[in-house]
Point group: C2
């Protein structure tokens, strides 16, 4: 009597289908511009069906964001596993973070540039155990390693890594919002490299 099992499978399949449709639309056009009706149309179900699978629109977004940030976490863990000196490893991580933000601009924005207000409860996923924690953990770990290696001046690693994060997030955010606006930003890669370089230099030992 595998009928329950089959139905569970079918249910999961439709849930996945909704997520896939929403993801594609969100990435192409951004969360706010995509309506529940558009998602429904894409999967050829009535709009309210979606509510049988997700509490509301923001829950769909949350799930997608979590998946996307899991990708970032994996990328960073791959860098973590590479054989690089502490400084270069940290730099590579920062580069990967910024690239990730630019490639996933819509989701990056929703997770780190919108959430908290204006968007009802978008990405309110608790931090503990989240992908965000894993991603930030990379930075923290990288900073600690540089301190242990005598490259960075010792001190609270939490402070140093949040400073680094602020800077890295700053470039990412700036490139996302002004990337092709009319503000005369210097060349993208130049800005990225110089920012990473400057902050890391500022964290280094000696001369302070």
């Amino acid at each position: 009597m595998g009928t329950k099992e089959r139905r569970d499978r079918e249910r999961e399949a439709l849930r996945e289908e909704i997520l896939a449709a929403a993801r594609e639309l969100f990435i192409r056009e951004g969360y706010e511009r995509v309506s529940m009706r558009r998602i429904a149309e894409k999967i050829e179900y009535s709009p309210t069906t979606i509510y049988l699978y997700f509490r509301d629109k923001s829950e769909i977004l949350n799930e997608i964001c979590e998946q996307t940030f899991a990708k970032l976490a994996r990328t960073l863990e791959r860098i973590e596993a590479r054989d690089l000196d502490p400084l270069e490893k940290l730099r590579e991580g920062c580069r990967a973070y910024i690239r990730f933000g630019m490639r996933n601009r819509h989701q990056y924005r929703l997770a780190l540039m919108v959430s908290g207000e204006s968007l009802e409860g978008a990405f309110d996923a608790t931090y503990e155990g989240s992908m965000g924690e894993r991603a930030f953990g990379f930075l923290l770990h990288g900073v600690e390693r540089c301190q242990a290696a005598g490259i960075f001046s010792v001190g609270e690693a939490a402070v140093a890594s949040q400073v680094l994060w602020a800077a890295v997030h700053g470039v990412t955010s700036l490139l996302i919002t002004l990337g092709d606006g009319d503000f005369p930003l210097i060349e993208k890669n130049r800005l990225i490299e110089e920012t990473i370089g400057t902050v890391i230099r500022g964290l280094m030992k000696g001369r302070g």
Copy 2:
């Protein structure tokens, strides 16, 4: 025959009233959460009257943002006029910038964290001659002064000041979105001071 003059005055007065109502609502609740009907209700006119004074909702926002950023520009120019050594003047400007962002979170977000997409044409004001230009000009000037004084290593000032901007914007943006979320950010002022300090140290001469 001052009737035309009087009507122009009245027209201007209502325009001002709309702006004042919108500003208060936007600041309290954020752009997206405030509807044209709410603004209209506040000034006791019908919703469509607003369209006789502004092309659309985003034009109201633009005007308000421009005014707000003018305040930032004035604050920075007051610092510029003070008698401080180049480094401390630059630091003071950065502090003022971040404080400004936090006090005007809604408008800061709309101008620098949303614009470009998702929000139709919000704050698409051309950069040339804008308040944004004046504000960024402060940073540029401050960096040039530090280079001239032999404190910063020489190089393209545009690069250094955009790096500094990225960092300063990064803290601001992070504090706005995560300020009272559940991410365990270190204490606000600590993060602000450390970020400014670290980036400026990274821009300094010697030890590279």
